[in-house]
Symmetry: C2
Subunit: 313 residues, 2 copies
């Protein structure tokens, strides 16, 4: 909790009127609005450099959902001088998609950057249609579809890197889930940079060291309008339960999330990837030519199931 009248850790000596409005217990920082914005952008910049994500020469594509994370990230990247356009995937989830598309488009106009749109209904079917046909949990099917079209479109449009707004809370929840079951195959891939290989474009997560709350505050202080409600299908998702558990852990011991996530990256990730161990061979889908573990990729199979024609070659 921020005590009333606390001064900003950065500007306290310069301007006594600038009171802190944000307290980050795990960084022991109290910041005014201006210095919080600076801090957030610096942290994004440092994360990009620390993990060698991309440079100012790269043409990058931000996966934009209309939520606080992706819009804050896009905004910060533009302010930092990166060449970042946006990609919005219209999932066809009623009001949720309608609102988030509108918000994303108007944000793109505000920062004068291109926002590409993929409309799932035209490509394969809406998420509600897919959910009623797929055997997977809603979020899992939606994740596969989004990853597929992000990868495909980014390549078609000539971008070098896909940038997603996954934040520390997201990464901790996923890492936690994979740790509870010690799912080594997933743990081996949990890194904020996935390099380009086998038809997969490079994918990076510059918000991996900032929290959900920090994205939200950055959006609010930067006057970014974002969609505040969650996707209606996400209710009851295990990631939400894990986030609740982690909010308890973090409250009792500030810094726990960062320690858990960064400790994994530093100490365990290298151990899991130390040898060129057997990894499942990646082929090309015979229908759409996208990378796949099987002859026909999951998305083309899903299309067939949805009674649509296979992807055009």
């Amino acid at each position: 909790m921020l005590k009333k009248g606390t001064r900003c850790t950065i500007c306290k000596s310069k301007n006594l009127k600038d009171k802190a409005v944000v307290f980050l217990p795990h960084h022991r920082l109290a910041l005014c609005k201006e210095h919080f914005i600076n801090w957030f952008e610096n942290r994004v910049e440092k994360t990009i450099k620390e993990f060698k994500m991309f440079s100012k020469e790269d043409k990058i594509l931000v996966a934009v959902s209309g939520g606080k994370d992706s819009l804050s990230l896009w905004n910060a990247l533009i302010k930092l001088g990166y060449q970042a356009d946006g990609l919005y995937i219209d999932l066809g989830i009623g009001e949720y998609s309608k609102d988030s598309k509108e918000i994303s488009l108007s944000f793109g106009e505000r920062i004068r950057r291109k926002l590409h749109i993929v409309t799932l209904e035209k490509e394969i079917g809406t998420i509600p249609q897919i959910n009623s046909s797929a055997n997977k949990p809603a979020c899992s099917a939606c994740g596969s579809v989004k990853r597929y079209y992000m990868n495909k479109k980014a390549k078609e449009l000539g971008y070098s890197t896909i940038v997603t707004g996954h934040n520390l809370d997201d990464e901790v929840a996923v890492l936690f889930g994979n740790t509870l079951s010690w799912d080594i195959d997933y743990l081996k891939r949990q890194y904020p940079v996935l390099k380009e290989e086998n038809g997969f474009i490079k994918k990076v997560k510059p918000l991996c060291k900032t929290t959900e709350k920090e994205s939200a505050l950055y959006a609010v202080f930067s006057n970014i309008e974002y969609i505040e409600y969650e996707c209606p299908f996400s209710q009851g998702a295990s990631s939400i339960r894990y986030k609740e558990i982690w909010s308890q852990i973090e409250q009792q011991s500030p810094g726990s999330k960062l320690r858990f996530y960064l400790g994994f990256l530093k100490k365990v990730y290298p151990l899991l990837n130390q040898e060129n161990q057997d990894t499942k061979a990646i082929k090309q889908c015979i229908l759409c030519k996208e990378p796949s573990f099987n002859d026909i990729c999951g998305i083309c199979k899903l299309k067939q199931k949805l009674h649509k024609a296979p992807a055009k070659l």
Copy 2:
């Protein structure tokens, strides 16, 4: 929750009057009193064999605290035909120690097995004295002192193995704590068998696959009186917070504790121990000759601090 009138999974066809009194959701078992006792003892026996803990020829020493775990374990070991005596360490913690010692002694008499007693006050000082002088958290100092005297006394008394009552909940809480900080040195040693080496006697945990609740039920059904309240120093210990978190996880997804613990043993423990990596060299304490990482071991240093003479050679 056990529905009223549920029949025991084992004896339902034999005796319709024997209603189940225990439901174990993670094993999908509903059991009557008699078959729960059988189930518990079988599970202990299987765990002993699975991890090659000891055989019926070995003289083993059970670390007895007077709680449900150690007394249930001792009882089960005797019923299974093992040569198990007890070791009680009187920590000198007021009523708690007085009550638990009395309970342990009378249980030893009931099963007609020797209970050795170590009185910390005579050896080094009581836990309250140590806590007021040590710089460590209460449970950490107490743990070190107990491990030291268990090891020393078991060797002096000619036992081959120390058997402790750590249950699945204990192991999960410790594993969880070490995972949150990815403490590789501790994770490398988290196994239900620690072999004899460098002056350390073999140490095993036959209850690692049964829960706290299962020990308690076994004690109740076997008419074992045990000390029901916790050590007064344990309040606020992180292990208690972790147990609360795990009780939420387990309730939402029965079997999570076992999956987390056994998954670690199977998939991660071998990975961490795959090479003879640098391990800190173990020497002998120059004062007490017990194993130590330094010239003088932690217990002898503590003794010096408590203004007592160093351990006799």
